[in-house]
């Protein structure tokens, strides 16, 4: 069993509960043991870093320090949480005086940020730690009849100085996972593009245009569904799909899955168990 600290993303505790639920079904099957960090707090969602850079450093030093206390790497299943926490880590590791200041405060809780735990995405754990062959060996219901559009989203790829796992111009990890589960990836120009999530409440029309572009390509490519490693991308591409497509005058629809659901399906769990029925687009 490989043990990891599991970061609880705000959105997975509210709108996209199916992410954590589906992981709970299959983690043991793949030899994974995710210890949920109930003490963890919101990472700041790519906003706190400019509202207050020092609070941003404190909050995420603490999130990482909680994992370090158990000697575990921190696993994240939301792209923006991943990018945000890794950005803070980079800042802390490169700025000794900031690290010192933050650690003075963290003492109150008996915590210390040392920089020893890695912060990694669930997708990377699946592809790099479990391994594609081990995943293949566990597949009971291969996704062989499905044409799947891989939508990586931004914050698992960019900025590459912070992320660095996949080539941001030609990412492959999600494609590899799809293929290991028996599915067929389709060439998808928008695989490394944006979903528009972060401006949904500030520039809705623009955000929906951005989302519609990706949805349109997936629909035109005759994909059976889109799969994404990010619950924020999922919220736009699924939750806002009808609004985005209506704005772009497109009469069609396409289901959008989380990677955790796709893995669950291939490992033999049902759509009902995995919470797929909670999606807006069925």
């Amino acid at each position: 069993m490989k043990r990891y600290a599991y970061y609880m993303s705000c959105i997975n505790e509210s709108m996209t509960k199916e992410v954590d639920r589906s992981i709970d079904f299959w983690q043991k099957d793949l030899g994974l043991d995710f210890v949920k960090l109930h003490e963890g707090t919101c990472c700041g969602g790519s906003n706190l870093d400019y509202v207050s850079p020092k609070h941003f450093a404190l909050v995420n030093a603490r999130n990482i320090a909680l994992a370090e206390k158990s000697g575990l790497d921190l696993i994240v299943s939301c792209n923006t949480c991943l990018m945000t926490i890794r950005t803070a880590k980079k800042k802390l590791d490169e700025t000794p005086e900031l690290k010192k200041e933050v650690n003075e405060i963290l003492k109150r809780e008996g915590l210390e940020y040392r920089g020893t735990s890695e912060v990694r995405h669930l997708l990377w754990v699946l592809v790099d730690d479990v391994g594609l062959d081990a995943i293949k060996a566990k597949v009971t219901v291969p996704l062989k009849n499905y044409r799947i559009a891989p939508f990586y989203g931004c914050h698992i790829l960019r900025p590459s100085t912070v992320l660095g796992r996949d080539n941001p111009l030609a990412p492959s990890s999600l494609d590899q996972l799809i293929e290991a589960l028996g599915g067929q990836t389709i060439p998808f120009e928008h695989k490394n593009r944006c979903c528009g999530f972060h401006t949904l409440l500030v520039a809705e029309e623009e955000s929906l245009n951005v989302a519609a572009e990706a949805l349109e390509e997936a629909i035109n490519s005759k994909a059976d569904f889109i799969v994404t490693p990010c619950p924020l991308c999922h919220t736009v591409l699924d939750g806002y799909q009808s609004k985005a497509l209506k704005q772009a005058h497109i009469e069609s629809s396409i289901p959008v899955f989380h990677i955790s659901e796709m893995v669950g399906l291939a490992l033999g769990y049902t759509a009902k168990q995995l919470g797929i029925k909670r999606h807006i687009v069925s």
Binding site: C42, R193, V202, E204
Partner: protein, 345 residues
Amino acid sequence: MPETIDQYQEGKRDVTFRVFRFNPQVDSKPYFDDYTISAERGITVLRSLNYIKEHVDASLSFRAFCQAGICGSCGMRVNGISKLACTSQVWDELDKCREPGIIKVEPLRSLPMIKDLIVDMDPLVDKMKHYSNWIETTMPLAEIGKKEFLVSEKEFHRYDKATDCILCASCVSECSILRANKEYVSPAVLLKSYRMNVDSRDGIHDVRLSELVKDHGVWDCTHCYRCQESCVKSIPIMEAIHAIREDAIECRGPKDTSGAKHAEAFMEDIEKKGKLVEATLPIRTNGMVWTLRNLLPMAMKMIVKRRTPPPPPLVKSAKGIKVFRAMFREMTEHVKQDHLKSHKK
């Protein structure tokens, strides 16, 4: 020696450039022309285009000047990515081709097309003007030319990287929001605005900032980092955008615009619960009327699917919230001290 032959073969090969063509005076729609030339290892995309223009097709049009990554004239999309043709090695591009051996060359996006690979830079220049991206000196007219304007090394470092921008418009071409709305300020303009706003010699910071926070301004950036990733000078453009936002909240307050309110909500929620209260985020960002008008139909669907975020009282605080809150507030004191220190200076 066979080794030499291999090296020779590796050092020279036929490469096809699939180039976007469009002359609005003649063509009803754009098309692609394939030019196959014998290219040597070490040759750039720009040199290949020059060769094609000189020896194969003189009608091919593109902009170029310095051939050394300095002037920013030859911004174009090579194999789908906006970059400078003069610093793009053909051999590197061969590894990135969708179709083996065929390098696709297209004009930048999000700017009006003039001919073939040439786009109209005027909309970008107009935006630079609109956001007053120059220094309006604080020095009295009588002193100009007579007195030195000293800039500290520390200050210089704040905009050192930003001044590396050569206005090639690669970031403009890659920007997600500009693709969605041509009125958007665009990353290059934001970078330049940041650079001017942190310059102590400039006297129109407030005027510039008041324009930047309006519609299509700094708050419309969707944090996709495509600008930064495509920057040919590796300038951290997003840091500049975030810095403008930080400055906007500090100078104009957290209730100034929907963007500021949205950002500030994260700070409030984290201090209070350690978790984001998503249910009220739209209301706190845009008010009740906007929320009802824009989100009600979707909220109904979400209720049916049991996907709605929980109302504030039901959002569970992170475990150990009391200690966390105390630490958060301790940091607030640190930040206050920092502000006092910087104002004293």
